[in-house]
């Protein structure tokens, strides 16, 4: 097989890995907890910039990832407690408008601080050397991105299916009212879940900002991708997010190589097909 294709597949996997970190965050908040969060893309962008700032300050990529994730998680907590929880009774529309407004504010603040040029986070030297497997040479850092993504998928699975918090989350999805009437602090479940979602958005920003670049407007593009991941995979399905990120990553990688002007269009083709044939998504539950 032509090495060129193998490289494209690997690029797709790298892109898919970033999509998963991003999309799993959104599927937790939007799919599971039904918190409509249109500022997930802005979380990504701000996370990326904060990671960049931390990297410039400390020179450590790992510290940058953790700092960006935690800062965005904190931001998420403040927004959820301070604003989203107050409009929860208002339904989806209030949440949508509120989070669109927040995303514009975040994007503009980022523009004011980091300017309009594309910026990129340098990948750490220690893990950047090319790795050759079966005669294919590929940057080691991209394998690290894939590994991080797999690790996050495993951790999320453990949290959702092997902890009491995960049980509370799944029960809240089924019947919020009864969960709270049985003594579970539902508000805490919501806040923690939203923090986790924001954390993943921030981490994805650093991963994406290292693999590609950060620039104004990226927030809306990224939000669109993450919505595609969530909708194709099925609202709230972890497995769905894995599969749809992988599909989306390959489509993006191959379309950028062969038909770059069509790439956005091609990304939406699977979404249109899924919505037409199986509106609940590949792994979604019929509502």
């Amino acid at each position: 097989m032509d090495t060129r294709y193998v490289i494209l597949v690997l690029n797709g996997l790298t892109q898919g890995a970033i999509f998963f970190v991003l999309g799993s965050g959104l599927t937790l908040a939007f799919g599971l907890m039904r918190i409509v969060n249109m500022s997930h893309g802005a979380f990504y962008l701000l996370g990326g910039y904060l990671g960049l700032a931390t990297f410039r300050l400390t020179g450590s990529w790992t510290v940058a990832v953790v700092a960006a994730g935690l800062s965005i998680a904190l931001l998420g907590l403040l927004l959820e407690r301070g604003m989203l929880a107050r409009v929860r009774e208002g339904g989806d529309l209030s949440q949508t408008l509120l989070t669109i407004a927040l995303s514009m504010i975040i994007a503009d603040v980022a523009l004011a601080i980091w300017g309009g040029h594309s910026l990129s986070i340098r990948s750490p030297a220690a893990i950047s050397m090319p790795v050759t497997i079966f005669g294919i040479t590929y940057p080691g850092f991209r394998y690290v991105l894939m590994a991080i993504s797999v690790l996050i998928a495993l951790l999320l699975w453990l949290i959702l299916y092997r902890t009491r918090f995960g049980i509370a989350v799944r029960a809240s999805v089924d019947d919020r009212e009864i969960v709270s009437a049985l003594g579970v602090r539902i508000d805490t479940v919501y806040s923690l879940m939203f923090m986790l979602s924001a954390f993943l958005g921030g981490v994805a920003g650093v991963l994406g900002g290292t693999y590609l670049q950060l620039s104004p407007g990226e927030d809306t593009t990224i939000l669109t991708y993450s919505l595609v991941v969530v909708i194709v995979g099925g609202l709230g399905s972890l497995m769905g997010a894995v599969v749809s990120s992988l599909i989306l990553g390959q489509i993006l990688s191959f379309s950028l190589a062969y038909a770059p002007q069509m790439s956005m269009f091609l990304v939406f083709v699977p979404m249109a097909i899924v919505l037409a044939v199986r509106p609940e998504g590949l792994f979604g539950r019929r509502v």
């Binding site: 009491r164 089924d174 009212e177 009864i178 009437a181 003594g183 579970v184």
Partner: protein, 240 residues
């Protein structure tokens, strides 16, 4: 009815008012529950379910007091009310389709560190049939087993008062008998039970005292025996 037949109250409702949509309105419910089984009877749509929802804070009361061991719970959030010691078995059971039987009990278990507290294992001892099916989804159980799980799920919160909303609904006579036996056993352990029912059979089997609710108001109170033997009263309030 002499006053000595009314035990020391654990839960007292004083003139509770609540509205829920346009119908099902509470317009002044007062009652007390001690270490006994109190049954609220009433026809459909008289506000029985809303009464329990109001106690749990799910339909927050507009006025009135909900006093548990001297403390007013009206206005608290549902999880706080549950935390004060009220266990809730909702109408239609409302189990969680995403959770296994065991997860239902793990989720709501609140340890009290008392020696005979309700733990998931103790619930499995009470309902051995649930143990065999602990890994399957709660909603794939039979109707009777679902009711047992709904009761078990409320028991592991280690409540002082157990609220049961129409536990006999949709159950076979055998399953119903099992639920009645369970309630008797719980009552003997000193749990206060407040049951709302349409099924007079269940009330006959369990109730120490009875309240009748009519258009959202408690209009009648007596020892169970007295009411159940008075056919004219039964006809008047329940049409049976």
């Amino acid at each position: 009815m002499s006053d000595s037949s009314v035990p020391e109250p654990v839960l007292v409702l004083e003139n509770l008012h609540a509205s829920y949509g346009d119908s099902h309105v509470l317009q002044g419910c007062s009652l007390s529950v001690g270490h006994e089984c109190v049954t609220v009877l009433g026809r459909n749509g008289m506000g029985k379910t809303t009464l329990l929802r109001a106690i749990m804070g799910l339909t927050p009361p507009k006025s009135g007091r909900i006093v548990l061991n001297g403390e007013n719970l009206a206005g608290l959030k549902p999880f706080q009310i549950a935390g004060h010691g009220i266990g809730y078995v909702p109408q239609g059971r409302r189990l969680f389709p995403s959770l296994s039987v065991q997860e239902h009990l793990v989720l709501t278990y609140a340890s009290t560190h008392r020696p005979n507290e309700w733990t998931p294992n103790r619930v499995f001892e009470l309902f051995p049939e649930l143990w065999d099916r602990r890994h399957i989804s709660g909603t794939r159980l039979s109707g009777g087993e679902q009711q047992m799980l709904a009761i078990g799920r409320a028991l592991v919160t280690n409540p002082r008062v157990l609220l049961l909303d129409e536990p006999s609904e949709g159950l076979s006579p055998v399953a119903n008998e099992r639920v009645i036996e369970t309630c008797r056993a719980l009552q003997r352990e000193g749990l206060a039970i407040l049951l709302v029912e349409q099924n007079i059979r269940v009330a006959e089997a369990l109730a120490n005292r009875i309240y009748v609710i009519l258009s959202g108001k408690t209009v009648y109170e007596s020892a169970a025996q007295a009411f159940l033997e008075d056919l004219a009263l039964r006809q008047k309030y329940l049409g049976v």
